[in-house]
């Protein structure tokens, strides 16, 4: 009988605190304490949460360690947050970032 693949949480024998909710473009997602925003999004099958400035192409996590700035997202209205570094907090509202995310400063 093939054994079920263990989740990362099971692999490291983690006993995280109770899950909580964040939203992505209004849709509720379940997060665990200590997870980055990118981890929560990946866990929910979301791979892209930004579009590029010029061509509008989709972007998500690439390096995962804060170096490449590809995973920028708008979190609680604040653009250009690195989703791979930012820990999820209960009630966080993550929204897809369009381009530079600073439409407030556009002409």
């Amino acid at each position: 009988m093939r054994r079920r693949r263990r989740t990362p949480v099971e692999r490291v024998l983690a006993r995280p605190g109770p899950p909580f909710e964040i939203t992505f473009d209004g849709r509720p997602l379940t997060a665990l304490p200590g997870q980055s925003i990118a981890a929560v999004l990946w866990n929910a099958g979301v791979l892209a949460w930004r579009t590029t400035r010029v061509a509008g192409r989709p972007r998500g996590a690439f390096c995962g360690i804060g170096q490449c700035f590809d995973c920028l997202a708008t979190v609680n209205g604040r653009p250009n947050q690195r989703a791979c570094l930012l820990p999820a907090a209960p009630g966080d509202a993550v929204t897809t970032q369009k381009g530079d995310g600073r439409a407030d400063l556009a002409d």
Partner: protein
Amino acid sequence: MVGAGVVGAACAYYAARAGLTVTVLDRGPVAGGTTGAGEGNLLVSDKEPGPELELALLSLRLWRELGERHDGPARSAEYEAKGGVVVARDETRLKALRSLAAVQAAAGVETREVPGDRLHELEPRLAAGLAGAFHYPQDAQVQPALAAAHLLRASGALVRCGERVTGLLRGPDGRVGGVRTVPSGALPAGHVVNATGVWGGEFAAAADVFLPVAPRRGFVLVTEPLPRVVRHKVYAADYVADVASGSAALQTSAVVEGTPAGPVLIGASRERVGFDRTLSVEVLHRLASQAVALFPALADVRAIRAYAGFRPYLPDHLPAIGPDPRAPGLLHACGHEGAGVGLAPATGLLIARLLTGDQPPLDVHPFRPERFDRTT
């Protein structure tokens, strides 16, 4: 050509176009020194009438050909004829700008006064309450590392990075006949051009000639990518005085400009502290607060990085361009301080003409490299 910065690249470009066979050497990568740490300003607005302004006026015409023509080698280097705006916060500074603009106009600079209440037509996000400004439509901008790389490619010159020059080859008559490098050894050449920028004095010393190039440090603060918040190159009137000053002490004045890639670049600081790369929080703090005073919308924008560079400073603020009579076969093209990107094409054209024995397009006497030598 020793030095693959923007000046060496422009020298290579114009020399190759004049029919010469050119090899460019650099101990590091293309644009790895001051070129890569610059903002790419192509300015006439900050220059008083004199030899540097004449060089700048010629150079900006050449940049326009290089950057705007459909087959220009710098057309992919983000050339923007955006114009400069020099702002005065009070009447005293505006009066000083007015007299500078008058003598500049007489020397061929296009400039017009913009009253304080019309400033927002030019720059909608400028702070309110400024006394006025002068608009300089000839000022432009280019991405300096891209410009150097494209000029080198277009030159067709052989580019050899990772070649450290350790000395000069001399003929039996003492004439400079090439360079010695690590790792390649002897590389003979008809002429050697010192385009090593802020290291130009060191290079000159290897040829036993004196050229007092000293580093003048500057920091640039880079914001997150933004929409077009800043349309021109905008700077405070105090910048002109800072550029002209010879002081070693720290000076900062706001210079703010957008880029096609989105980030806004914030300068400018000047201080002579040798080749010290230590990040100065004090300088960054002053740059940021001066920029916010000009553009209040920047207050809630994040700065994502900062970098330092070393302007090649010569005591009279003029570059060294031309043959060195103390070392026949050696020419200099260095010491452009903060204006190297702007002055590169004219410098390259002058060097090419001097190499081929043709008449340079302007008088090179003020730039003669031996002018600091007390014995001549």
